[in-house]
């Protein structure tokens, strides 16, 4: 991911239950619209946030989702960081390739969210939790 400066509008939503999933995707949609995303984009961002927030609730809760506005030299965008202290993912790359799946579809949610966003990064280690950072840039 490119270096970029963040801030001003940083929002942190604690994720503990399914109600927080709704809260998080609502906040993501609102911020996306404020940043200037139009058309289908706010829905794509809200859907990606819904999936990764749901992963936290189902596999790794509690956790948090941090929304912020980011810039690079070309454009402005929205960054979503999802962080938990859950069990972690043993082999991120096989989950992302779809080699390893889980009964309820952790990998599918991650791969789907990746398709909805422009940048997507998973950092995870067993017993330490998982941090997902994803960004979408204004077209």
């Amino acid at each position: 991911m490119n270096a970029s400066s963040t801030h001003l509008t940083e929002q942190c939503i604690p994720i503990m239950s399914d109600i927080d999933v709704i809260e998080a995707r609502g906040a993501a949609r609102a911020l996306a619209t404020r940043v200037g995303f139009t058309g289908v984009d706010p829905t794509l961002i809200a859907s990606a946030v819904s999936e990764i927030a749901r992963n936290i609730v189902e596999y790794a809760g509690p956790g948090e989702i941090i929304l912020s506005v980011v810039w690079n030299h070309l454009s402005m965008g929205l960054q979503v960081v999802a962080r938990d202290q859950g069990p972690g993912i043993a082999d991120v790359s096989s989950v992302m390739r779809g080699v390893r799946t889980t009964s309820r579809g952790l990998g599918r949610g991650l791969r789907g969210s990746q398709r909805l966003m422009d940048e997507f990064r998973v950092e995870s280690s067993l017993g330490q939790g998982t941090t997902i950072t994803m960004r979408k840039w204004l077209p």
Partner: protein, 117 residues
Amino acid sequence: MRVPILKQGDYVIASIQSALTDDDLLQLRDGLAAHVGRYRSKGVIVDVTVLDVMDSFATRTVRDLAQMVRLRGAKTVIVGIQPEVAFAMVQLGLDLGDIATALDLEEALELLRNECK
């Protein structure tokens, strides 16, 4: 947020009014399955027009709902999936299987009338 379930002749119409929690969705699923038995309904219409996101859980629950309703002898039609929501669902790799869908209530009723003759 409970979803109101209306009976209209042989059909049952559930009109979702706002974003639903997982519990709301499960209640809707179970409520509709019970309704079909109680009123001998032939068809179930679920209006999702107001939903601005259908994620994996919502999609799975709607699929289960339709399957339960089918096992109870009725048919389900999902109405009003917004174009952006449809786009996001495709990108997420989610689908509703062979559940009937319609653009609006009128079309859904028409579909059920033709199917349930």
